[in-house]
């Protein structure tokens, strides 16, 4: 199905990106993305996914908006005390009326997942759920002045295989926003099918310097049928 006039106008600059074009934009429009988290890490990611034209966004976060969440780019002072998922979805619909955004509900069937809860235990559970469903997913973790983004196309080494213990430092707001936005960009490339790197990879952002490397399946990990699958 061809893009509408309003979509062409709305996504004009993105349509100019090499390799994306109308076909890639249509793939984004057909996507149903579950985003786990709606705090300061997920906020910039959610906005970018909406602006990029992901067809449907499901926000999965059971927490209420707190005063410190006002740094999440999504909320105003009047949102404090509201469910994050509902307030975030409303902000996303305002940001781009061409996308659908709703709180995630049991039974929703996503085609891709972005994990950015800010809590390691939640991230692990959500990433494993996505893997078991065979969904491409991206996990964002902010840490101190940087963080990590793990890109997991369907069938590639899982988040547990790629995980590295960080410094555990409280992330700076700028690092949080940068890692969240980078994770959203990686998911856009994955969903639009224009990434130059089809393998799973982990991008470590250290003081503004990104270092990307393919992920490797840990021997014996249940995510793979054979040892070392995923090694380039």
């Amino acid at each position: 199905m061809a893009l509408s006039e309003s979509q062409i106008g709305r996504y004009a600059r993105q349509l100019l990106l090499p390799g994306l074009g109308e076909a890639g934009q249509e793939r984004l429009g057909a996507a149903r993305v579950r985003v786990v988290g709606a705090g300061p890490l997920a906020g910039p990611a959610l906005l970018y996914l909406a602006q990029a034209g992901m067809g449907r966004l499901w926000v999965d976060d059971a927490a209420m908006v707190s005063p410190e969440d006002l740094s999440a780019w999504l909320y105003g002072p009047g949102d404090v005390g509201r469910p994050r998922s509902a307030a975030a979805a409303e902000a996303l619909r305002t940001a781009n009326g061409l996308v659908e955004a709703e709180p995630f509900r049991a039974g929703n069937l996503p085609t891709a997942v972005l994990v950015a809860s800010g809590a390691q235990s939640t991230d692990r559970v959500a990433a494993e759920e996505a893997r078991l469903l065979g969904l491409p997913h991206v996990v964002a973790e902010a840490d101190g002045e940087g963080g990590a983004v793990t890109v997991i196309p369907a069938g590639s080494p899982c988040y547990k295989c790629a995980f590295r213990t960080g410094h555990g430092a409280i992330p700076t707001p700028a690092a949080t926003a940068a890692v969240g936005a980078l994770a959203a960009l990686e998911l856009v490339l994955l969903v639009a099918d224009v990434s130059q790197e089809p393998r799973g990879r982990r991008i470590d952002l250290v003081r503004g310097q990104p270092m990307a490397r393919p992920t490797v399946r840990l021997p014996g990990c249940t995510c793979g049928a054979g040892a070392n699958e995923g090694i380039p």
Partner: protein
């Protein structure tokens, strides 16, 4: 050779090339697109961007019957397609 026609004279950059690019994407390799565009920045940027993305500019000429400042550029869709990101 018949060509699909696209009139982008009512648009400003970057929409002139956005629409050209989408029209090219809908063609098969080797097919031609006739783009009507305005002199100035569109006439400079549309053919240049097309060549940079692997297409071929077959002709570029004024269209006096369509009024001063109107140009016709015929672009042949290239192969291979543009590189991914």
């Amino acid at each position: 050779m018949s060509a699909t026609r696209l009139d982008v004279r009512a648009y400003a950059c970057p929409m002139t090339y956005v629409r050209t690019r989408i029209a090219l994407e809908r063609l098969r390799v080797g097919e031609a697109l006739e783009v009507w565009l305005a002199a100035g920045e569109p006439l400079e940027s549309v053919p240049r961007n097309a060549v940079e993305e692997g297409h071929r500019v077959l002709s570029c000429e004024p269209l006096p019957a369509e009024g001063a400042g109107s140009w016709r550029v015929v672009i042949e869709k290239g192969n291979p397609p543009p590189e991914p990101l």
